[in-house]
Amino acid sequence: MKKDFGNAHAGHIFAVAAVLLFAVFVNTAGAADGSAKKITVGSKGFAENNIIAKLYQYALEENGFTVEFVTNLDNAVLYAAIEKGDIDLYPEYTNTGITNVLKITPIYDPDEAYRVVKEQYKEKLDIVWLQPSTINNTYCLVVARSAADKLGLVDIADAQKHAKQLRAVQGGSNWRERADHLPAMEKGYGAFEFKDRKIYDSGLKYSILLAGQGDLTMGYTTDPQLENPNLVTLTDSRQIWPPYYLAPIIRQDKLTQYPEIEGIVNRITSQLQTKTVIGLSADVVLRHEEYEDVAKDFYEKTFAGK
């Protein structure tokens, strides 16, 4: 009996030793393969950003890179991740970098915005802004058709006048704090005293308007839902929102290590058209296709092997 126990014990030790040996072997095998060019591509988790980040991934893979893809990150997490080096590259928007990361006042001239954000990211964070796209994903104020018709809302100024009759739907929690959100609206048009103001996940805002549970929300100009006739985008006669041109940003150390990344990524960016990208987002947001599939199809049609 005693002897049996001893044998079983020895067996266990052998098993543990075998597992350890195997783990060491797997690790060294991984380390020996140092020739692989590795990069981590990040995304903000909404359709447009996911699709474009995926296009970068496929282009890099075609050029021999091994890509890890990281998505669904909150903005704050994303900023921390690229600064720390958990992420090397992701698509950012010029004035988001300016207001949300650098915490300086919005810059309205598109070229000036790009120049400043590029210079300050390099200086403060050692992150490089690559060639910008022609996609300007800025903000807009969206109201439900019923409210627009009832109150005759056309411009943001009209919404300000009738704010007391409007239920605001806030997608995400920092509407009041971010300089380019509510503060920008109030600076341009005066105080907005909404009937009420509720916070929801950003993905829900349009369906809340369409379901009649709210009247007004802040949207992105490239949101495919805006093509719905029951949603009205108000004109911004006083131009309160600066431009948010999409451009990929990359850590300087990664770019120094693999300078060819710039050409690979720029080739994708230079061919992105606003209309095309809205169409691709619509496949994901409205037709519920998977963003990987949508990006893959588009990549194969437009870029692969060319």
Binding site: K84, D201, L204
Partner: protein, 228 residues
């Protein structure tokens, strides 16, 4: 119908996410249990330290999980590691408190009787205390498991994978089918874990009360009877 086609198209990914979820929970609970059992056993002997340590953990437990996850990203990075650290810490609170209380509720008369029978401290732990506290230890482990399964869904926001991804993508794109599949998988996982651990709890509780069907002599019961 769309519900079925989604499953047919996405089942590989769904099972992969379920696997990740289970891996995160299993790893976190193993780490938490390895710390909580010895630490809790030690703390159960010294009442005043146990109050302080449990108090400290309950303070951490009061921090919302999403905040703790985001706070830890700069330290432990993105991905599973951060999720495992956070879930282990949360589970620690539940387990530790449970282990301390379980060991403290063992009748001192039983322990005295065992010492009187000449059992060593280790023998008392293995043959008396553990069998007697097993049902309550498992009950605590069950609560910790359920809480970990739900915290792990939130960890999808820091790239740790898991079922939370389905829910997050479902909400972001108003993809109800995806969202509901996410909810179903998470609930199924919780219900299964709950069922299995409740069964284990009952079995050990029967054994602790001497109701074990196997004819093996139940030492703890004998000593308990002797102590009365």
């Amino acid at each position: 119908m769309e519900f079925v086609t989604f499953f047919l198209k996405q089942h590989n990914r769904m099972f992969a996410l379920l696997g990740q979820h289970m891996a995160i929970v299993a790893l976190s609970l193993s780490i938490a249990a390895c710390i909580a059992l010895p630490l809790g056993y030690f703390l159960s002997r010294t009442r005043w330290i146990s109050v302080a340590v449990i108090g400290a953990f309950s303070t951490i437990y009061a921090i919302p999980s999403i905040a703790l996850l985001v706070l830890l990203v700069p330290v432990t990075g993105l991905g599973m590691r951060t999720a495992v650290v956070v879930i282990s810490i949360y589970a620690q609170f539940i387990l530790l408190r449970n282990v301390v209380i379980s060991f403290q509720t063992v009748d001192p008369a039983v322990l005295e009787a065992s010492r009187g029978m000449g059992l060593s401290a280790l023998e008392i732990l293995l043959r008396i205390e553990l069998p007697l506290t097993a049902p309550s230890l498992i009950s605590g482990f069950r609560v910790a498991t359920l809480s970990s399964i739900s915290v792990a869904t939130i960890a999808a926001t820091i790239n740790s994978g898991g079922i939370g991804i389905l829910m997050l993508e479902g909400v972001r794109n108003l993809h109800m089918v995806k969202l509901v599949w996410g909810i179903l998988l998470a609930s199924a996982l919780s219900l299964t874990a709950n069922q299995l651990l409740t069964r284990a709890e009952t079995r050990f509780s029967d054994r602790a009360r001497g109701l074990d069907r196997r004819k093996q002599k139940n030492v703890s019961q004998e000593i308990y009877d002797a102590s009365l």
